[in-house]
């Protein structure tokens, strides 16, 4: 089921078109990555999806409700954190949640305890937010986003500023939400490794337009490489070059990965008396992929 559908979304500021027509569809239970360098238009897009910025044209619908025409119903199904969760520091975590719960029509008060339990903040919930660590604030941010039982969760750079343990925890938490509660989660990031570990599908955005949308696996496997560590290097290179394209990198050779031919190539090498120290099938880092897709372009 499609929970979030974005069609031909555009935003002009003055004469400059900063978002040039974005189309996205999110399905139930998936984590969707929104990937691009700083300045590509991620945050602007996310702010349009959350109703903070009015799009110049295009439509956003959340669970079938149009965000422009039926704001209240659309927002009932959306939870979000835009950038950092800036909760009220002078209130306790609990009062913050009560504050935001009061803004949800027909809120069931037992949901409050559920959410606090879910993010594991029960012990510190009555302390003032200004005494919280960044990780706790992030969790409280997630708690406020989940208050209204949303179908779509939008998280802008959710692991920003967390320590490695916190990042791992957050990653697991987001995956669990999608898997167990059937939420669609849209995660934006400029950290490509983050998206790689977290997301099912990814849209790559550059200069205000989506340049590719696909499953993370499909995107990566088309770019899969084979790394050969062999001795002697030059002789092996000659042999491999007769079969495929070879790039020499430091003390390794890199070829495309081809499941049918890898065995054949290695046998040829061994028959020619070349010693194979290591054969490694490697997914490219999204960094490389991104540079390849955008032709190395960065921000305008």
């Amino acid at each position: 089921m499609i929970t979030l559908s974005v069609k031909n979304l555009k935003k002009k500021i003055g004469k400059k078109e900063i978002i040039k027509g974005i189309d996205i569809e999110l399905y139930e239970g998936e984590v969707f990555g929104f990937l691009g360098p700083n300045g590509a238009g991620k945050t602007t897009t996310i702010r349009m999806l959350t109703g903070l910025i009015r799009p110049t044209s295009g439509s956003i619908s959340i669970c079938g409700y149009d965000l422009q025409k039926d704001f209240t119903n659309a927002m009932m199904h959306l939870g979000c954190i835009v950038e950092n969760p800036e909760l009220y520091p002078f209130l306790s975590g609990y009062d913050n949640l009560v504050h935001f719960a009061r803004m949800i029509p027909g809120f069931q008060s037992k949901r409050l305890a559920e959410v606090i339990e879910l993010v594991g903040l029960s012990e510190r919930i009555h302390d003032k937010v200004k005494t919280y660590s960044l990780g706790m604030r992030q969790r409280l941010g997630i708690a406020q986003a989940l208050l209204g039982n949303p179908k779509v969760l939008i998280l802008d750079e959710p692991t920003n500023g967390l320590d490695p343990a916190g990042i791992r925890e957050m990653r697991q938490f987001i995956r669990d939400l999608a898997k167990n509660e059937g939420l669609s989660v849209l995660v934006s990031s400029h950290l490509l490794s983050e998206i790689q570990l977290l997301c099912d599908r990814v849209a790559i955005i550059s200069k205000g337009a989506v340049i590719q949308t696909d499953t993370v696996h499909a995107l990566l496997s088309s770019q899969e490489k084979m790394v050969w560590r062999v001795e002697p290097l030059q002789q092996a290179k000659q042999i491999l070059e007769s079969a495929t394209e070879v790039v020499e990198l430091e003390d390794c050779l890199i070829t495309d990965f081809d499941a049918n031919k890898a065995g054949l190539w290695s046998r040829e090498l061994v028959n020619s008396g070349i010693q194979i120290i290591e054969m490694n099938r490697r997914l490219p880092a999204l960094e490389d992929l991104f540079l390849e897709l955008t032709g190395g372009d960065r921000i305008e």
Partner: protein, 326 residues
């Protein structure tokens, strides 16, 4: 909507702004009461304390003698009549006219704070009601709820009105209680002269009448509240337009002080009367002090303030509901 207002009150109270305002007011009232007390003491030393009743009695007889003179003009007669009534009241109720009671201190305090002190206190609350959400970043959480934007702003505005009413009530109470301890709590029913005007032609008492002091104070509070709402709404608008609370406060402060300076300077620049700052001293119309610019009346000032008020409301809601939040 009630829940939204509850939210705004929660935030307002948690930030302890109202308490700060209360403390500032208490300190100032103590200060003014002491100053007033000193004035009274020197006056009493000059006049003597023991025989004020006989002096008053003598004054009443003098005035009545003048009144029986048929050649004095009607206007003046009216004023003299009022004076007799006031003096008789003081005598009957055993009040020394040189010593203010708590009600008249309160009245005077309100009249003197209407154009600067009270607006400043209101500004402290109003100017960060919206802009603090921007500077804290919490606006992003506030506006991504299933609630329309105008409702959120409206709840903030209602909270502002409540806070203004609370501040004015607080001001009245504090000044009444503190000054009462020193001057006594008598004088609610003292007669007050209302409706006369001081014009170029002189003293015009044609529309004058006498009302008890409590009624006069009530009217004072009415116009004070109105002036405070207008200033509050203007600060509120600035708070919507400008992200920085400090800059917003600076703007309103500059305007208020400019108003205080201008009202002492302008009299020939007549179009200055359309500035809201010059129309703030509504209580002056009640107690008959001359307006800063010739020809200004209570209804004129009320009309000018109403226009500013509506304009500020219109801009606040127009901008807030359309604004892109970055």
């Amino acid at each position: 909507m009630n829940k939204l207002i509850q939210n705004e009150m929660l935030k307002l109270l948690a930030r302890k702004r109202l308490i700060v305002v209360g403390i500032i007011l208490s300190i100032l009232v103590v200060l003014f009461t002491y100053a007033q007390y000193q004035t009274v003491q020197t006056q009493l030393k000059k006049l003597g304390t023991t025989d004020w009743r006989t002096t008053l009695q003598q004054q009443i007889i003098d005035t009545q003698n003048r009144l029986s003179n048929s050649r004095i003009p009607d206007d003046f007669k009216k004023e003299l009549e009022v004076r007799v009534k006031q003096q008789q009241y003081y005598l009957d109720n055993d009040i020394n006219p040189a010593e203010p009671g708590a009600p008249s201190f309160t009245k005077e305090f309100m009249e003197n704070s209407i154009d600067l002190l009270l607006p400043l206190m209101i500004m402290v609350i109003a100017s960060d009601l919206v802009s603090s959400e921007f500077s804290m970043g919490s606006i992003k959480l506030l506006l991504t709820r299933p609630v329309k934007r105008w409702k959120i702003l409206f709840s903030k505005y209602v909270t502002l009105l409540l806070a203004i009413s609370l501040i004015i009530a607080m001001m009245g109470m504090i000044s009444y209680l503190i000054s009462g301890v020193v001057f006594g709590f008598k004088g609610w029913t003292a007669p007050e002269f209302i409706g006369f005007q001081i014009t170029e032609a002189g003293f015009d008492a044609s529309g004058a009448s006498i009302i008890p002091q409590w009624q006069f104070i009530l009217m004072d509070f009415g116009v004070v509240w109105f002036a405070a709402v207008v200033v509050g709404t203007l600060s509120f608008m600035v708070s919507v337009l400008i992200r920085s609370t400090a800059a917003g406060m600076g703007i309103i402060l500059a305007l208020l002080i400019a108003g205080a300076i201008l009202s002492n300077m302008v009299s020939s620049w007549t179009s200055a009367k359309y500035f809201f700052m010059l129309n703030m001293r509504l209580t002056d119309y009640l107690n008959g002090s001359p307006p800063p610019i010739e020809g200004m009346t209570l209804s004129f000032s009320l009309a000018v303030l109403t226009v500013w008020w509506l304009l500020a409301l219109f801009i606040s809601f127009g901008v807030f509901t359309k604004k892109d939040i970055y």
